[in-house]
């Protein structure tokens, strides 16, 4: 019937609007639910999710050793050429020549944080860090050398 449908429409509309209004009032009277981060003020206590991808870093242990063998898998995986690996040859105590990295050049200004280099790395030498405050006054400072000076590859990683 048209009339019953009309009345049903009116009451159904009032009911559904009431559900929406109850939800907004629920949030209105609970200021603790506010999710806004007061960013520059809470810099010290800011907690980011572990999965957040800020930049590529190469972790070094206390002996200034990293896990990068210079295999260039990450350089090949990078879709926009943000990684450039310069290799050199070390002389081992047995007198053999061994390939190692000289410079791990990482260009943050070209990086899209796609995580493919981290996935491609066979020895987990690079990871994604949480740091997101990348602004600098000169763009050349966005080209970073990830391996620290004097560092070498950890023993036992081929």
């Amino acid at each position: 019937m048209f009339v019953t449908q009309y009345i049903k429409d009116v009451f159904g509309a009032i009911k559904s609007l009431g559900i929406g209004m109850r939800r907004t009032l629920w949030y209105f009277v609970r200021p603790k639910e506010i999710i806004t981060q007061q960013y520059p003020d809470n810099k010290d206590t800011l907690v980011l999710a572990e999965r957040f991808r800020g930049e590529v870093v190469m972790p070094h242990d206390e002996n200034n050793e990293h896990a990068c063998t210079g295999c260039t898998a990450c350089e090949l995986a990078c879709p926009n050429g943000s990684i450039k690996i310069v290799t050199k040859f070390d002389i081992t105590p047995e007198g053999k020549r061994k390939k190692a990295i000289d410079q791990f050049v990482y260009r943050l200004d070209m990086c899209t944080m796609c995580n493919m280099c981290v996935v491609a790395c066979p020895s987990d030498a690079i990871i994604m860090a949480n740091d997101f405050e990348h602004s600098v006054y000169d763009r050349t400072r966005l080209t970073k050398i990830l391996n620290k000076p004097g560092s070498k590859v950890r023993d036992g990683i081929e």
Partner: protein
């Protein structure tokens, strides 16, 4: 006892004692003008802040919180910015109408304020057609909006103004019919009579079913008449940039903005006067201890409390409901609100004649 009525009476008698009646009248007119402008400035500052805070809390945000404690000086800073801005008039607009339009909107909002009773005896003009005067004059505001849209020489402005015209003309009907319900129950158009009739209970309680239906329809129509979301066809940020005031900047824009919030206050004050008793404290029956306690709260607090409660409800609507399309908007009015309010008027007539209200 201290009351606003005594203050106005003593000022009036003192002025008449000092000056001739004509000069006393002129001085009183100036005092009233200053008070009205002061009220509007206060409303502009408070309501914008309130809107921003209500919206932010409903959307799980913090809202303005940098200028002063809890951001209470944010609107003052915004006003300062708007005053300093250049009052820009684009080429190819109708310069006279373009500059006139914000003042029409503003003056209409100020004139509507005349018959309002803010407290017992604190009223500018207790005219015998009070509520009729209010509905008649508040409809003139759309002329200012149409003038602004037409003179801007801009498609968006014209579209927004035309939509606003269609919308206000439609929703005036159901707003008028719901006001008639209370006029019928009271038997008078005079604001002071309507308020005095609620001395033993507000109309929303005394008038039961027709008054509650009328109240709901009035709130919906009032939201539409003030061009606020979910009925913000006239502004429609997503489609028309800013609707009728697209071309306005600086203080002329601020006048439109202020008039919008003044109109929100006015429709809510009408709602508070008709359905919630105006300045009348919460009374049940006659002469009992509950009424005596409630009488200790001054009338102006009751009036502004009720008006601000209704303003909160309208803001709550705005930040909860999705926008309506223009055809949905007109459907809602002509197919739902108008038939329901006509039937409601019939019901109210029966109740008023047979005396079935309390």
């Amino acid at each position: 006892m201290w009351s606003l009525e005594n203050i106005t009476k003593s000022v009036d008698s003192w002025l008449n004692l000092q000056f001739s009646p004509t000069i006393a009248f002129l001085i009183e007119a100036v005092i009233i003008m200053v008070l009205v402008i002061g009220l509007f400035a206060f409303l502009g500052l408070v309501l914008v802040y309130m809107e921003r805070k209500v919206s932010s809390f409903m959307q799980i945000r913090l809202g303005p919180n940098r200028v002063g404690p809890m951001g209470i000086f944010q609107t003052a800073a915004d006003t300062l910015k708007l005053i300093v801005k250049e009052g820009f008039t684009p080429n190819n607009v109708d310069k006279f109408l373009f500059n006139l339009a914000p003042f029409i909107v503003m003056v209409v909002a100020m004139v509507v304020l005349a018959p309002f009773a803010f407290s017992k005896g604190f009223q500018i003009w207790d005219v015998n057609v009070g509520i009729f005067f209010i509905t008649a004059v508040s409809s003139l505001g759309v002329i200012g909006i149409l003038t602004a849209g037409w003179s801007s020489n801009n498609k968006y402005s014209l579209l927004g103004a035309m939509r606003s015209g269609a919308q206000i003309v439609s929703y005036e009907l159901s707003a008028g019919l719901t006001i008639l319900v209370i006029v019928m129950l009271t038997g008078s158009l005079r604001i002071s009579d309507i308020i005095n009739a609620q001395a033993d209970g507000w109309w929303i309680f005394k008038g039961h079913i027709p008054a509650i239906i009328a109240f709901v329809i009035y709130i919906i129509a009032a939201t539409a008449e003030t061009n606020r979301a979910p009925f913000d066809m006239a502004e429609a940020e997503s489609e028309l940039t800013a609707g009728f005031h697209t071309e306005y900047s600086g203080m002329k824009f601020a006048l439109f903005f202020l008039a919008e919030y003044a109109n929100v206050f006015i429709v809510c004050a009408i709602g508070a006067t008709l359905f919630l008793g105006g300045w009348m404290p919460l009374h049940f029956g006659e002469n009992n201890w509950f009424n005596t306690i409630m009488d200790y709260i001054p009338g102006i607090v009751w009036f502004f409390g009720k008006a601000f409660f209704l303003i909160f409800v309208i803001m709550w609507f705005r930040w909860t409901f999705p926008r309506l399309r223009i055809d949905q908007l007109l459907n809602l009015e002509w197919k739902y609100l108008l038939p329901i309010s006509l039937f409601n008027l019939l019901l109210a007539t029966v109740i008023a004649i047979t005396g079935w209200h309390f």
